[in-house]
Symmetry: C2
Subunit: 206 residues, 2 copies
């Protein structure tokens, strides 16, 4: 792709992500995306064919950043459960602050009204959590009855519900605190090594 086309696409995606996150899919028109990005609506149709097309591109673009994020949690020197907790804070922060991630979550919530097969992030999250829990088990950090796959599935669903419901009921600023409450309630059951505390996963100052 030419550099100029790439720049155009990026500005369209950023504008669309902001608008989808703020106003939802039905509340956002191609004209809104054009106005917010400073490009013509002809440019939107040229690059993405339709509003469905740009919604799909927003979600795919967000998925493209996932390998970079998980790569940060591959350091074998850090206990795997601690890396899992830290990853969850990173995702929670993205859900609260990053327009692409927020747009993805809102488009997922509104998927019944969108005529495009939007992929969801839960399979990726569950795979990453399964891998970290399997590492934790090999390191002897999990209780014997905790199986990585089903546990990862349960954790991801409860985590996402906690984050989205907390934002809806109390606002995005509270999500990190509620996530800490949740880990405090959840970690003891994993049988994680007693030295691991959920707040180790939060950056300093939170």
């Amino acid at each position: 792709m030419q550099e100029r086309a790439r720049t155009t696409r990026r500005s369209l995606l950023e504008a669309a992500a902001q608008l989808f996150a703020e106003q939802g899919y039905a509340g956002t028109s191609v004209n809104d995306i054009s106005a917010r990005s400073g490009r013509t609506s002809g440019a939107v149709y040229f690059h993405y064919a339709s509003k469905e097309g740009i919604a799909l591109a927003v979600v795919q673009h967000r998925f493209a950043t996932w390998p970079q994020l998980t790569a940060r949690y591959a350091d074998a020197a850090v206990p795997p459960v601690q890396r899992l907790v830290a990853l969850s804070y990173d995702i929670a922060r993205a859900l609260a602050e990053d327009p692409l991630t927020r747009a993805g979550a809102r488009l997922w919530a509104e998927r019944a009204t969108i005529d495009a097969p939007l992929p969801d992030p839960f399979a990726l999250w569950t795979a990453a959590a399964t891998r970290l829990l399997a590492e934790a088990r090999n390191a002897g950090d999990l209780a014997k009855h905790v199986r990585p796959g089903p546990t990862a599935r349960t954790l991801v669903r409860a985590f996402f519900g906690l984050c989205s419901l907390t934002e809806a009921l109390e606002g995005a600023a509270t999500v990190t605190d509620r996530l800490t409450d949740w880990w405090q309630l959840t970690l003891p059951s994993l049988g994680a090594a007693p030295g691991i505390h959920p707040w180790d996963g939060a950056p300093a100052g939170e």
Copy 2:
């Protein structure tokens, strides 16, 4: 209210709940509600003034059944944590099967597109869970650091996320099994008496 008016309202509410649960708010028209209930759309407008009005009535009608449900969990002879688990299975089953509850959950998910102040069930659920956890604490069934209020808040959000995400990803039939996975992961952290198992809350055969 006259008996005949009551019958009409009930049939309108049931039709509206089914349609909202199946097709969502935007996908349901007053004409659809009229056709499904076998009443005229004039009857809808006479009793509820607007589509927003009937959505609100569906949610309020569902709330009205809550005291009956919680009354079933007041038996002091049953350990309170076990009653909490049983209540969660009842709510999960209603979310999977009861049209009024399903409509309420879908309307809540679509609240941004509905021009009416829809109450949410989470405060009621959290109050009930707080009460049961406080009873459990008095009975010595909780770990010392588990505070009823914040723990109830965390449990309710994780529970609802688990149920709704499980239904979206795997279908309603799997919700009970996933709820059992979740309680198995969560109960040990509560420090609940070791004799209480999550499946005690599920009816026989599930």
